[in-house]
Amino acid sequence: MTASASLQSLPEFSISEETKRKIFSCYIECLKQACDVFRVDLFDLDYSERELTLAVAEAEIDIRAMFARRSITHGIAPGKIAGIVAFRLSRFKIVHMKESGWENANMHMVQELAALFLARRLFAYGRPCSEKGLLELAYQLSRRHANQETLGVFFDVFAEAA
């Protein structure tokens, strides 16, 4: 079977309106909590609805692609989905800080931590992971390199073993 034939035989996957609504609403709450963690004044932060919407749309495409690799009968582990969502929410230009917030030394991690909070809260909630671990991962996402796979492994393996 060719790769294209294999892709054609995949079921159409989409994130439902219900789940999208939950992601958007939960994201606002997670962003607030990430601000609380880094003591960022909520007034100093704007978020782009457009970028947030596009990030979720991109995650949907990633999940479809994941179905091309994983079997349809066995599905995708929740940690992998959490990894995909966290990655996309950390990469799109969602969070915009006002000048009054620029001096906060941790402002570069607000969006990343919010992304991780959301991914854990909605998709990988059965897995305990330490605050320190999530901070470390937020730093990694912001300043170093992490992709969907790295994050998926974190939520599937390390967070589970924590």
Partner: protein, 78 residues
């Protein structure tokens, strides 16, 4: 598994090798080590089950403040 030396100058053996690979006998196995969500409905179900526990902001503050204290100390003692 053909030996390269054996096959390199033997067009018939080489053709056989190519045909074996073209036959479809070798297929990717299903990945089934770690599985879960199979469709939209199951993703909805997963998200519906989320308990919505708030983050322990105080615990984060303790880590961040500790880190900042550690960074300040050498400068203060210098």
């Amino acid at each position: 598994m053909p030996n390269l030396k054996d096959i390199i100058d033997d067009p018939a053996k080489r053709a056989d090798s190519v045909e074996r690979m073209m036959s479809g006998a070798y297929r990717r196995a299903e990945v089934a080590i770690n599985h879960g969500v199979r469709n939209t409905a199951e993703l909805d179900e997963l998200v519906r089950g989320a308990p919505g526990v708030a983050e322990n902001v105080a615990a984060y503050h303790r880590i961040i403040d500790q880190q900042h204290d550690g960074q300040r100390k050498p400068a203060e003692s210098a």
